[in-house]
Symmetry: C2
Subunit: 318 residues, 2 copies
């Protein structure tokens, strides 16, 4: 990989959208996307890495835009047959998606690292940006709920985010090492910028930040750290972020996101809908950019990415 | 399972055809099919049991009759995608077929026995006959060839049976125990009959006979043991039986099949095409039935099964 000009921390769908924009708004080879692996789990004997896959499918132009998850041109014979066999059917796996899980599991069992497998699959998908897991060590997000602790996918998919959240834990994080690509991007010189994508801060970004040394790595770097708020008008574009904040007694606002990342980020990007919050956000974050953050089209993604890049340069020149 | 009236030893396609005929020519619950597991192998992290599956798909009316293997109504998205990922693509796996391998592998890893899984899958397929693996212990057929020893599926599928065969070994057989259902069928009282299906004697039936105690179990039983010759007019209906016999210096004739099973079987069923061999066969086997053994239609399967049943009664009454 060439030197990363931009390191983007990402969860699944929302993060992947901005990552795609970034890959098109700069020389794509200069983008390194670090994907959360706290959502990874073993299911039906297969290792499934939802965030790595969403980022890879999105950057490889293979994402299923109708479903909002999984691969395009998907078929469902496997799942249909598995149901008939009495197998576990709460986690949907398309036939094409499954090939990735089977091949990755085989390669992991053969001793290859998740980083190497992810890089190789990215290449096969024709992706010129780099995608790396946050760590090659297992970190597993546990959601503490009113129904007791739940493995992330059990909370997220099986229980449809219904149990009331009381907190989060990242099992294994304290012993996990950031992946080689992640560390290398901050060694010797700093990257040009770090972008925290508009992903869920609690379950997509915090697991990355929980890895030993990551906060220090970001703080010690000269790179401006820019986050894009995942909250627009008191709601999350997708997923349970706002519901979780409510349950945790946090107002679902961009100011609360600013407070969450206070001390770590140099700038926060808010949506126009939350322009009135700009002053409140400045209490926690030195710089604020108010713009359209809702990414419906590819143009939206690229244009938000361009604004984030320009904003980071502005922050950096201060 | 109700008491087995008929125990059929079977490999894949040819054996499954007669097993299907038997299941329709008698009260289906009284048939126990013992499937060879010497062909089983681990591929892409999955346990694949080709003969159990061929028998199960055939008896469950789920077999792919166009292909001659695998499941009907099959789709191929998984395999197509796996190829694109650089995965091993020499062994074709349909999307529906895959569900069975994934679910079985998961259940084996969870500690269930192959016997229990096979019985459960048979039930889910609506099969009222019983299907059991020859053993719950791993037995792996090794084909010794001019290119060195090959794991069975490597010889059979990857190398398309091209290397010249010099012999066979059944790794693990001497420590393997016949499955509970197999043993139970011979405990206390004998089954009514034992049928050795028209499968390849070297690679489909010999692994079953190599299990400690199986030959003794058949010999000690009052049940007539009837084999159906897989050779018709010097050729095998399907697969490499005749080619193997040639390479081993054995003439590909039904007399050679009779000699192979001499001492074990009470009767051999030959095809009309080999009527001239009847006397030669009698040198090795007490009783001979000459009839049509080529099973093209379902009627052919049922009518051969009926003749085999009648022949076994005749042999038994002597």
């Amino acid at each position: 990989m060439s030197r990363a000009r931009c390191v983007a921390l990402s969860g699944g769908v929302g993060g992947a959208k901005l990552a795609l924009g970034l890959s098109k708004a700069m020389t794509s080879e200069e983008l390194l996307v670090i994907a959360n692996t706290g959502d990874d789990f073993d299911h039906l004997g297969l290792r499934i890495c939802p965030d790595i896959d969403t980022v890879s499918y999105t950057l490889g132009d293979l994402a299923n835009l109708e479903l909002g998850w999984g691969r395009r041109d998907e078929t469902w014979s496997f799942m249909e047959t598995l149901k008939g066999l009495g197998g576990e059917d709460w986690f949907n796996l398309g036939d094409r998606d499954l090939a990735l899980h089977v091949e990755r599991t085989r390669r992991l069992q053969a001793g290859e690292s998740l980083s190497d497998i992810t890089a190789d699959i990215g290449e096969r998908f024709g992706i010129t940006s780099s995608i790396a897991p946050m760590s090659d060590d297992d970190v597993r997000t546990i959601v503490d709920t009113s129904d007791g602790p739940l493995a992330f996918q059990h909370y997220f998919v099986r229980e449809r985010c219904e149990p009331k959240v009381t907190g989060f834990r990242f099992a294994g994080a304290s012993d996990a090492r950031p992946s080689q690509a992640f560390r290398a991007a901050f060694e010797a010189t700093s990257p040009g910028m770090v972008v925290i994508c508009p992903s869920n801060p609690f379950i997509s970004i915090d697991p990355i930040l929980a890895l030993p040394g990551v906060r220090r790595m970001l703080e010690a770097s000269n790179a401006p750290v820019i986050a894009v708020s995942p909250i627009v008008g008191g709601k999350a574009i997708k997923g349970p972020t706002a519901k979780m904040m409510d349950e945790l007694g946090i107002e679902p606002t961009s100011s609360a996101i600013a407070q969450h990342y206070a001390g770590l980020i140099d700038g926060l990007v808010l949506d126009n809908a939350d322009a009135a919050e700009a002053d409140a956000v400045r209490e926690f974050v030195p710089d604020v950019l108010v713009t359209n953050t809702v990414m419906k089209s590819l143009d939206d993604r690229v244009s938000l990415a361009r604004e984030v890049i320009a904003f980071s340069q502005q922050v950096s020149e201060k």
